[in-house]
Symmetry: C2
Subunit: 109 residues, 2 copies
């Protein structure tokens, strides 16, 4: 789990169009690059079989998110995404105010 | 897109264990029930082939989220989820501070 709230989340919901090997390479590279940015906490992602995807990245501050949005290689990937890969997407920047978790207890042998 | 910020998001990330017809019926019912709650805006969901799922629901206020968490049928579904369906999950309540979207322009014929 992330540090105690408050921290920030970027909720990226998207629909892909078709498939493209370059997309996968770039997506993987962006995950690596994001993880090297100051203020990065973590990322979670799921994409269903119909091409609907949700990626949520977590950050220590809104400033860290703004800096990541402007990172040069990331800006190029965003342009490529609009030109080629996405039918539509939405980005939401949100301040996480509370969180809780459930973890299944280990089963006895 | 939702109303102008600020509004609220509940980010629910989970890993399922196995599969279960009752899960799908309950998940569908919870979507219907959530949509009837005061303050509900919308919901987006994706689950990948490895069982990792992200559901984000959007609400007008933190009070609306608190009321939904306490809704009786939803409380029962949460108990069932912990007893049977989830390996683990995390819930984050976040205040959306800004958002933007991309929509692919219609192609000329």
């Amino acid at each position: 789990m992330a540090p105690e709230p408050p921290y920030y989340a970027v909720i990226f919901t998207s629909r892909r169009r078709g498939d493209d090997a370059a997309y996968h390479a770039t997506a993987e590279r962006m995950l690596q690059l994001a993880a090297q940015q100051p203020g990065f906490i973590g990322v979670e992602s799921a994409r269903d079989s119909e091409g609907m995807g949700i990626t949520v990245s977590y950050w220590h501050s809104a400033e860290a998110i703004a800096a990541w949005k402007m990172e040069l290689e990331h800006v190029q990937a965003q342009q490529q995404g609009r030109a080629c890969w996405y039918e539509h997407y939405q980005v939401r920047v949100a301040r996480v105010e509370r969180h809780y978790a459930f973890e299944r207890p280990a089963q006895p042998d």
